[in-house]
């Protein structure tokens, strides 16, 4: 993946607007966070291959970046994004890596379901 180029990511987000798209959205601090640090409150959530339609998608922030996707009846939101990739399959992959390079957040869009 490459460090986020906001103009390129914005252009990619625009390509997915106003049509059915599959989303992978995830945050994680890892299954071992509370094991390594007992006071740490471990949380995580992911959704994979939900089909959504958004009218406007925007990337903001000085970096790490935030993305918001405005749905007819709600929102999709992710923060802490640092890297992006446009795949051969025409998927937009966004991820946020911590200072050790570990994935902490991911937001991905695809016309076809993720395998």
């Amino acid at each position: 993946m490459q460090p986020i180029d906001t103009a390129a990511v914005q252009e990619a987000l625009n390509r997915f607007a106003n049509r059915d798209v599959y989303i992978h959205l995830e945050t994680t601090n890892g299954a071992y966070a509370s094991h390594h640090n007992e006071g740490f409150y471990s949380v995580g959530a992911y959704i994979r291959n939900a089909c959504i339609r958004f009218t406007r998608g925007k990337i903001t922030g000085p970096g790490p970046y935030r993305v918001g996707l405005k749905l007819d009846l709600g929102w999709v939101y992710a923060e802490g994004l640092t890297h992006w990739e446009w795949t051969e399959k025409g998927q937009l992959l966004l991820a946020g890596h911590d200072d050790q390079g570990k994935l902490a957040v991911a937001l991905e869009l695809s016309d076809e379901p993720f395998v």
Partner: protein
């Protein structure tokens, strides 16, 4: 020590690397066939390489290749990929999961099974994997069941289970073990770099510890 067949059941492609791969290498070098049933491809791992070379979508392909390479190094000729998804094992139907494992047990007829100790293995996939193995093996009469050596590393495992009753010195195969660990490059490179800076990696890796599962039925 000479087993008829060893069956290893873990949920993630690198679960065997640090705690069990020396034992596996020794069995393989003794000519004992080893079957490794791996439940997922570790699709949801956080480690993407140092610096990152994987992403969420390429990670399963990379980890599958890494696992195949680790198996080649260790002398595992029978790798079964069960096709579950990382972080979801505990939500699967427990009987169906046990069916899949019982079928492999029936086919390979192992004298030793290696898995995680249910309830003492920290990651929910580890605990669910160990529980499924125990559930599967309980379908056999107690006297016909293989020995089960469990890996455990929860903070309370020694308090509850006592000291591990199987402690193996795997120094004689340490080079093979290190190669197998390095094969899981996306997951282990950062850890090994940190351990090598601390200088304590080898002592830690030369010993493998297991708790023999105590049947409760």
């Amino acid at each position: 020590m000479n087993e008829r067949h060893v069956l290893v059941v873990f949920p993630h492609p690198d679960d065997e690397a640090f705690g069990v791969s020396g034992t596996i290498a020794e069995h393989a070098q003794n000519g004992t066939p080893v079957t490794y049933a791996c439940l997922t491809l570790g699709e949801m791992g956080r480690n993407m390489g140092v610096p990152p070379f994987a992403n969420r979508e390429t990670l399963p392909h990379i980890r599958k290749q890494e696992l195949e390479e680790a198996c080649r190094i260790l002398g595992i000729h029978d790798l079964r990929l069960l096709g579950y998804r990382d972080k979801t094992v505990e939500f699967e139907d427990e009987e169906e999961l046990a069916d899949r494992i019982a079928a492999i047990v029936a086919e390979t007829n192992p004298s030793l099974v290696i898995t995680f100790y249910p309830g003492y293995s920290v990651h929910p996939d580890h605990d669910a994997c160990g529980a499924a193995v125990i559930r599967a093996l309980k379908r056999w009469p107690k006297e016909e069941r293989p020995t089960v050596h469990c890996v455990a590393f929860a903070k309370n495992c020694e308090q509850d289970l006592g000291q591990p009753d199987v402690v193996r010195d795997v120094s004689s195969v340490i080079d093979t073990k290190l190669a197998a660990i390095r094969a899981h490059r996306s997951q282990t490179e950062g850890l090994m770099q940190a351990a090598s800076k601390r200088g304590d990696a080898l002592a830690w890796l030369k010993t493998e510890r297991f708790w023999t599962y105590r049947w409760d039925d």
